[in-house]
């Protein structure tokens, strides 16, 4: 796959956010804060890390990407459409009657491995795909993007234990660590700290990164596995709602739909207009 320059992924991230803003505005359903939180991660992955081909979305050699935090489906749809997996025009059908673009991510769309939405499912499926890859001695890698909230789920840690036991070095978990979950900050709900230590204790090699720093994301994701014979965990420190000042770091914008003046203001910020 071609690897666009860093500037290219910055622009891709901006376009993902713009699509997501319009999609949630039209659809009336939203996890816009969660999408904005991981838009840069998606842009770096689809802009230069993942070996995927829109012309052959089921190619056996492709890297597999699983969005375990399925509520950010709008972001993945946007990234895939921008990469040519399906027409960008289809994005506006998000949340509409009869659409393939359900709020939580759907594998009806080309380029999407699995449908998710219930939290704590993705890492197990990813581990199964990774284990099959090792049995086949295949070169492809399996990336799984998790939310911090779904690290409350026991099943996430069941999968983490399994991946370390079986030395799934072709598996990468990226945690979108925006420290904010459904209705409250993670520190008030289930404190995850010391978070990196937890993954390390579970047998993973952990790196931490500013999840909005494209250069750093790119550099680290190019260096996987972080250690031979171990699954890799990248804890991406992020800001929920990143990119629109009044959405940043507020639980309100986990569910709130951008409408009216709020939509206009968000659009101005994302388009970089004064």
């Amino acid at each position: 796959m071609s690897a666009p320059e860093i500037g290219g992924t910055e622009d891709l991230a901006r376009r993902i956010r713009l699509h997501a803003l319009r999609m949630t505005n039209i659809g009336g359903g939203s996890h816009i804060g969660s999408i904005f939180s991981c838009a840069d991660i998606l842009a770096v992955l689809y802009g230069g890390i993942l070996n995927v081909d829109p012309g052959a979305p089921r190619s056996p050699e492709r890297d597999r990407f699983l969005l375990s935090k399925g509520h950010a489906g709008g972001g993945l749809y946007a990234a895939l459409a921008e990469r040519g997996f399906f027409p960008v025009e289809q994005l506006v059908t998000h949340y509409q009657n009869g659409s393939d673009l359900s709020g939580h991510v759907s594998h009806k769309l080309p380029g999407i491995e699995v449908s998710t939405g219930a939290l704590g499912h993705g890492l197990s499926i990813a581990a199964g795909i990774a284990y099959a890859g090792i049995l086949k001695e295949a070169a492809h890698r399996v990336f799984c993007l998790l939310s911090d909230g779904e690290c409350d789920e026991g099943s996430t840690w069941e999968a983490a234990l399994f991946a370390a036991q079986h030395q799934l070095s072709n598996l990468v978990a990226i945690v979108d660590y925006n420290r904010s979950q459904g209705i409250a900050p993670t520190s008030e709900v289930i404190e995850l700290e010391p978070f990196a230590d937890k993954w390390t204790a579970f047998g993973w090699t952990v790196r931490e990164v500013d999840g909005h720093d494209h250069e750093a994301l790119h550099r680290l994701l190019q260096g996987i596995p972080f250690a031979a014979g171990k699954p890799s965990c990248l804890i991406a420190h992020t800001t929920k709602g990143k990119g629109v000042s009044f959405m940043e770091n507020t639980v309100l914008w986990h569910y709130r739909v951008p409408r009216g003046a709020e939509f206009d203001a968000a659009l101005i910020e994302l388009e970089g207009r004064p």
């Binding site: 199964g128 795909i129 999968a159």
Partner: protein, 313 residues
């Protein structure tokens, strides 16, 4: 039944390198031979059924035929959402195998009794639900699943009815096996408890009551034609299952008959009625306690036909 299943898996594992057996840390002794012979086709995932089911979905997406194996409700109810979302919604080629259907685990206690699994699993879109009644059916069901594509549930019982196979008979999933002909009443059972139906049929025959005995080894899709025929040809239908009466075999039969416009002379669902199997005892003991043994079936038939029921006394 468990041994019949493992034996078939061992027979076919060499020709089916895509076959994988996942165990939730159960099968000590039973799986040793399989593990020794096919180490690359076995995976003990630990006591983690949610992960086992998600893993199975991922492995199946990569072309494997995956069997998940555990006892009682562990491979089903514990990880139901993974079965629904990860396996069924993706039509993943995963076969869920429960060892210890019904009250097989007897005195081990209610936690190990699978008595709602059929109702729950058969409600899942795309799920094939098999509950073989004898060892032949168990082996054949396992053999069938190797070529079947998509999700399936195989419920294996510790007990088994005596196998009653005709020469050259082929196992046909989705079709009821009529293991005894009769016109007075139909006894329809799934799982090893078919043995009780056969015993009851013997006892009733001595009193001149001829029972048609059906092995309903496939709960989904259920064989509506054979059931509707039984409704019209025999005096009535009694379903017998080591399972809650709600939504299991009896429920499936009732739905099927009503939708087919077939009205049996009478219809009784024998099974657990809104109770947990909390009493301690062997599978056989519990069948008697919960009125599911041959004597109870005789009593039910007698009451419906209006004849004295002391024949087993």
């Amino acid at each position: 039944m468990r041994d019949a299943f493992i034996s078939v898996l061992s027979e076919f594992a060499p020709q089916h390198p895509e076959l994988l057996l996942l165990s939730g840390d159960l099968g000590f002794g039973v799986l040793n031979d399989f593990i020794a012979r096919f180490p690359r086709q076995f995976l003990n995932v630990g006591v983690a059924e949610q992960n086992m089911s998600g893993l199975a979905a991922g492995l199946a997406m990569e072309g494997h035929t995956v069997f998940t194996y555990s006892i009682g409700n562990f491979p089903t109810l514990r990880c139901l959402e993974q079965i629904r979302n990860d396996i069924c919604y993706h039509h993943a080629n995963v076969k869920i195998v429960c060892i210890g259907g019904g009250m097989s685990y007897g005195a081990v206690g209610f936690s190990h009794h699978a008595t709602e699994d059929l109702a729950i699993l058969r409600s899942l879109p795309g799920m094939l639900v098999l509950s073989p009644c004898d060892l032949w059916e168990a082996g054949e069901a396992a053999r069938y699943l190797l070529s079947h594509r998509g999700p399936a549930y195989l419920r294996l019982d510790k007990s088994a009815a005596p196998a009653n196979v005709q020469r050259g008979e082929a196992f046909r999933p989705g079709f009821i096996r009529t293991v005894r002909e009769g016109m007075d009443v139909t006894l329809a059972a799934c799982g090893g408890i078919l043995a009780e139906a056969l015993l009851a049929a013997d006892a009733l025959a001595e009193r001149g009551v001829q029972c048609r005995v059906l092995s309903v080894h496939t709960i989904k899709p259920v064989d509506s034609f054979t059931l509707a025929t039984a409704a019209s040809e025999t005096g009535g239908i009694i379903s017998i299952e080591e399972h809650a009466v709600d939504g299991g075999l009896g429920g499936a039969i009732a739905e099927s008959l009503l939708e087919a416009g077939a009205c049996p002379g009478f219809f009784v669902r024998m099974g657990l009625r809104n109770v947990f199997s909390s009493i301690v005892g062997s599978q056989q003991y519990l069948r008697a306690v919960y009125s599911l043994d041959a004597a109870s079936i005789v009593q039910t038939v007698s009451a419906k036909l209006g004849i004295a029921s002391q024949i087993l006394a």
